[in-house]
């Protein structure tokens, strides 16, 4: 809660604060609040997925059912978009989905840091996908992978225009993928913070109004947190599919 009289920027919540300073050579790899949020995320995912399935019961408990639902959800997503080829990438897509989803959800806890609201993190994740998919494309099709940028059935004089557009759209994939997630998280949390500021700064009873709004927005944010993780996962699946099936 903001102390009275202090000016608080809505962006202050994204400030990275080192918890313990670690330096290797000239590189600063301090354990920060962002790293702490990642740690909590990883702990939550591993503990949940391990403990709920620990009994390995054929008739699942409610919690085990949640784990199985998540498993089936991503498995279905991969089969629908990539087909049988996609099974190999299931652990990666599942990890990506869970990491982004729980990262977003951890960010919804008050006073917790949202590491997915940092472009460097989302860009790194998107780059892994992009580089991985490009390598996969070259492994599957060799030099023919470049025909991905060639759209068949288009008049020949359009190609000089279309091929650069295709190349640019392909290269902008990591940017669009990372900015989409980052911007959504940034905007959502900023909006919440702005409204939270209104609750404090507005006169006594009128403050209830933005408070109500915050409650509604929090619900929306939780939806967006899920939706963005889903979008991240489904786009990854589509990119993997592109690496298998050119135009």
């Amino acid at each position: 809660m903001a102390a009275k009289g202090e000016k608080h920027s809505p962006l202050e919540q994204f400030e990275i604060v080192p918890i313990s300073n670690i330096e290797i050579g000239s590189y600063n790899i301090s354990f920060t609040n962002s790293s702490f949020a990642m740690l909590i995320t990883v702990l939550l995912i591993t503990m949940f997925l391990t403990l709920t399935v620990n009994t390995r019961s054929i008739i699942p408990s409610r919690l085990q059912l949640i784990s199985e639902l998540m498993y089936n959800f991503i498995a279905q997503l991969l089969t629908d978009t990539v087909g049988d080829n996609g099974k190999k990438y299931f652990p990666f897509v599942f990890t990506l989905f869970m990491f982004v989803l729980i990262g977003n959800m951890v960010g919804m806890i008050p006073y917790q840091f949202t590491f997915t609201s940092h472009i460097i993190v989302t860009f790194a994740l998107a780059s892994i996908v992009f580089i991985g998919v490009t390598i996969l494309g070259f492994i599957n099709h060799g030099i023919k992978f470049f025909t991905f940028f060639y759209i068949p059935g288009v008049p020949f004089y359009m190609h000089p225009l279309l091929i650069p557009i295709e190349v640019i759209s392909y290269l902008s994939r990591p940017i669009s993928l990372s900015v989409r997630l980052f911007a959504n998280m940034l905007a959502g949390h900023t909006l919440l913070k702005v409204f939270a500021g209104f609750v404090v700064s507005m006169p006594f009873f009128t403050g209830v109004l933005p408070l109500t709004f915050i409650v509604a927005l929090t619900g929306l944010e939780i939806l967006i947190a899920f939706l963005q993780a889903y979008v991240f996962a489904i786009l990854t699946c589509l990119y993997i599919n592109d690496a298998y099936h050119l135009h």
Binding site: L11, F14, I29, T32, S34, S67, F90, P91, I119, V121
Partner: protein, 163 residues
């Protein structure tokens, strides 16, 4: 904007790499195979149960068929038994009827004989009575004492005229 401050870029990338790799390896090697095993086990169990159910259903159908066969058999047997009984009863009834008829005939002929015998007896006593009455009547009218033979002769002659 803190996101654009490159001070902690390396730190964030480093910890992202550490945690994401750990998570990927852990899920890949530990969690996901567990979930997959459980679901596979369940699917196997379901398939097993389904095949058992199918087998049991087939068995039930066989048993039902058998029961129906036995029921129809039993019905046929009962029908036959009923027919046989009816026929034997009819035969018994007809033999009893014929024996009864014979008995009846014997009884009728016996009765007829009895009747004839009785009639004859009655006729005899009537004749005696007639002779007695005649004797009495004659003695009352004429003081004549008639012997039995005369009376009988007279009656016999009279009788012959009537007849």
């Amino acid at each position: 904007m803190p996101q654009l401050n490159p001070e902690f870029f390396i730190s964030q990338l480093f910890w992202l790499f550490v945690f994401f790799s750990f998570l990927l390896i852990f899920l890949w090697r530990v969690s996901l195979p567990r979930i997959a095993t459980v679901m596979e086990k369940r699917q196997n169990k379901i398939n097993e149960n389904l095949s058992t159910a199918k087998e049991l259903q087939e068995q039930a159908l066989k048993i039902e068929k058998n029961i129906n066969f036995q029921i129809s058999n039993a019905k046929e047997e009962t029908d036959e038994e009923i027919k046989k009984t009816i026929i034997s009863l009819q035969e018994e009834a007809s033999t009893k009827l014929s024996s009864l008829e014979k008995e009846l005939e014997v009884k009728i002929s016996n009765s007829e004989k009895e009747i004839i015998k009785n009639r004859d007896l009655q006729m005899k006593t009537i004749n005696e009575e007639i002779s007695n009455i005649t004797k009495i009547t004659v003695s009352k009218i004429s003081d004549l004492k008639l012997s039995d033979s005369v009376v009988n002769q007279a009656i016999q002659s009279f009788k012959g005229k009537i007849n």
